[in-house]
Amino acid sequence: MKTLTKLAGAAALGALMAGGAMAEGLYTPNLAYRTGPFAATGIPLMNGQKDYMELMNARDGGIGGIAIDFDECETGYSTEKGVECYEKTKGKAIVTQPWSTGITLQVLPKTNVDEIPILAPGYGFSPMADGKVFQWAFNIPLSYWDGASILIKYLGSQGDLSGKKIAFLHLDHPFGKEPLPYLEAAAEAQGFELVPIPVGLKEMQNQSAQWLQIRRERPDYVIMWGWGAMNAGAITEAVKTKFPMENMLGVWWAGHDADLKIVGDAGKGYKSVSWSFPNPEAPIMADLQKYVVEPGKTLSNAEEMSGVFYSRGLVISMVLGEGIRVAQEHAGKAEISPADLRWGLENLDITEERLEELGMTGMVPPFSTSCNNHTGHSGGWILEWDGEKFVKASDLIMPDSDMIAPLEEKAAMDYAEANQPWPVNEECGG
């Protein structure tokens, strides 16, 4: 009988949950991870996202006159929990923010069936840029291939790359392997030697073997595709082995202030590509102070709010907020459906003027999306660690789209073929 009552109770609760009443407004759940091994990097991002939506609700009464029901579902970065959260929220949600490449991978094929847009800003699958194939997925404003391309372009501007050796230190995981196809193509085109050095998930904190290999190979540059504990591990190891920091560059997730603060001055010169930048003078920061921090609605603190990751969280919610606004204008109603939001995210036009209206000048490069461009390819800055904080070390660099576009198209078609039947939106101009 115990089995029975337990199962029956479980089923009843499950049914309750699915049909349960939620708070009024547009339901935009976030599959957050404030617990688990990646919590340190997750919390500032989640706080930024949450605070932006709190600001919208407190200052403007929501977006387009309707409150935003911004809710978090805790995943602890576990794919299993992520799928649980997706199933739990998909009934009412107008968007899914999966927050991990593993969860994105899992949820991506389901979106055509469930018809809910996935918003994966700056992560996920690079070919998601092809909106013809991935009709419901968005990785605004830059894909990993774009990021790799910006890094290579920046290095190219520092001197000819042919004959040089670049070590690619990456997490041995779908996320870390993501830029490899682009980097291999670039190595062939520009004549540099690429040395991929994988870091297993279990070796994140202890990378002595990898750095021994780096010392032996004597690369001219190290490009790091790391996340969570791997960043701090690599940076401290680089300092220990006296690798010249100015020749080490990372993806945007490897540009976390806290990771560099551990080494402080010794980390001077370390660079990271980024599509967001904290601007303490931006009007939105003053508004946040007034409407969110002072009434005590934030979970963040002053130090965190001045960091790169918090402001990236703001930008991510801004993208979603703007998507909602555009969708509302198009649909002519405040209460939009997931399909409306998809239209909104496809027709974003974030110009300098719009950023100024939002009070976010300089926090993200301007970009626009379209039906067949689900990324926006905004371009990014190279940030440099000056010993205390990240500063901009370059002007806006645009990715090499001529080279990336065919790669994206091919990978997207391969994906669609492997997942037959997969609907392709032929209406999009190519």
């Binding site: 029975l4 029956a8 499950g14 957050a32 404030r34 799928v83 094929p109 041995d172």
Partner: protein, 358 residues
């Protein structure tokens, strides 16, 4: 009262050793099966299917496979997740190499691959025992996960290094992949799990099962009375890995939809070991009870605060959840170290003699 056995006379040895010596057991099982086959599918929501029903069945099956090896044959193994991985990757290769193959057949076939690998890694068990064997199976765990990462052919040289379940059809309906509906997947899982459970019950009650138990209880004595230890141990590894492999294929094809190599790493092995231990080693029922406690309960607990309308943040819910489930595990192990199955057996005994305890 409910369990009154008065009037149920056993007149032959056979009826005394029957699977259900007490009629009420059979009735109870029928009720449970009725729920599993009819009531749940009709009433469950998408969420209940995806987070409770399907995973509980799959985890219970995996624990059942481990239980054959550890609970019945007494060979401690820490490589369960890796053998699940072998099943999953074998199934992936089968359906991509032979797209015409019936998915259920592919799932059942993939078990043979993990059985083969299991036997290969079981060979050391002929010489080493106990904790030392656990270390040897740990080698399987590390080696196989490494292989899933490095051998590109296994994942068809995908750039991401992960396997993705394609849409698979059977008799005109999708049974796997994103197009498949939850109820269809549930029934496929239920059919396979029922089949495997019947197989396991019969095996463990038969000659093979008795030779396993003899090996577990005292291998020297077993050898002296004429049990071939090599056969007994290796068949345990083979049957166990087969069941675990099938569970692995179901895990990826009927539930997850995609898998990266590190999914099959040690935490999953431990999770299944915990299910088997908390459910009860050397029992079939225990695997289901353990899976309900370890897999189902956290999901249910996680939904409680929201259903009651308590304003607790989701991170807090997660912390509370971990604490509550941990405390429950300790609690159950203190009141009954032999697991939930033994707890149920005690309750059942008490019910039979109730209301006259002496």
């Amino acid at each position: 009262m409910l369990y009154r056995t008065a009037g149920q006379f056993k007149t032959s040895y056979k009826s005394d050793m029957a699977l259900f010596p007490v009629r009420q057991d059979a009735v109870l099982l029928m009720v449970i099966l009725g729920f599993a086959w009819v009531v749940f599918p009709l009433t469950a929501s998408e969420f209940a299917f995806q987070t409770l029903l399907i995973p509980i069945l799959i985890y219970a099956l995996a624990a059942q496979g481990l239980n054959i090896l550890t609970g019945y044959a007494g060979q401690l193994s820490l490589g369960t997740a890796a053998f699940m991985g072998v099943g999953a990757y074998a199934c992936y290769k089968l359906v991509t190499l032979f797209p015409w193959m019936n998915p259920v057949v592919a799932i059942l076939l993939s078990g043979f691959f993990s059985a083969g690998v299991g036997v290969a890694f079981g060979i050391p068990s002929l010489r080493i025992k106990g904790f030392y064997l656990a270390i040897a199976t740990l080698a399987a765990q590390f080696f196989l996960v490494w292989l899933f990462e490095k051998w590109g052919w296994l994942y068809n040289y995908n750039a991401s290094g992960a396997i993705q379940v394609p849409n698979l059809e059977m008799f005109g309906t999708y049974v796997a992949g994103p197009q498949a509906s939850s109820i269809v997947q549930y029934y496929v899982v239920l059919v396979v799990v029922t089949l495997m459970t019947v197989l396991c019950i019969n095996l463990t009650r038969g000659t093979l099962g008795r030779s396993w138990k003899a090996t577990r209880d005292m291998d020297i004595a077993a050898e002296l009375i004429g049990i071939n230890l090599m056969r007994s141990k290796l068949t345990a590894f083979a049957v166990s890995s087969y069941v675990v492999g099938v569970a692995g294929a179901l895990f990826v094809f009927m539930w997850r939809g995609a898998a990266e190599p590190n999914l099959f790493d040690i935490p999953l092995s431990f999770r299944i070991l915990f299910i088997a231990i908390i459910g009860g080693l050397g029992s079939i029922l225990g695997n289901y009870l353990g899976a309900i406690l370890i897999v189902g309960l956290p999901v249910v607990l996680g939904t409680v605060p929201q259903a009651l309308g308590l304003p607790i943040s989701s991170a807090m819910v997660e912390h509370l959840n971990i604490m509550i489930v941990g405390a429950l595990i300790v609690f159950f192990l203190i009141i009954e170290p032999h697991g939930l199955a033994r707890l149920w057996a005690l309750i059942r005994e008490k019910l039979i003699i109730w209301p006259f305890p002496h």
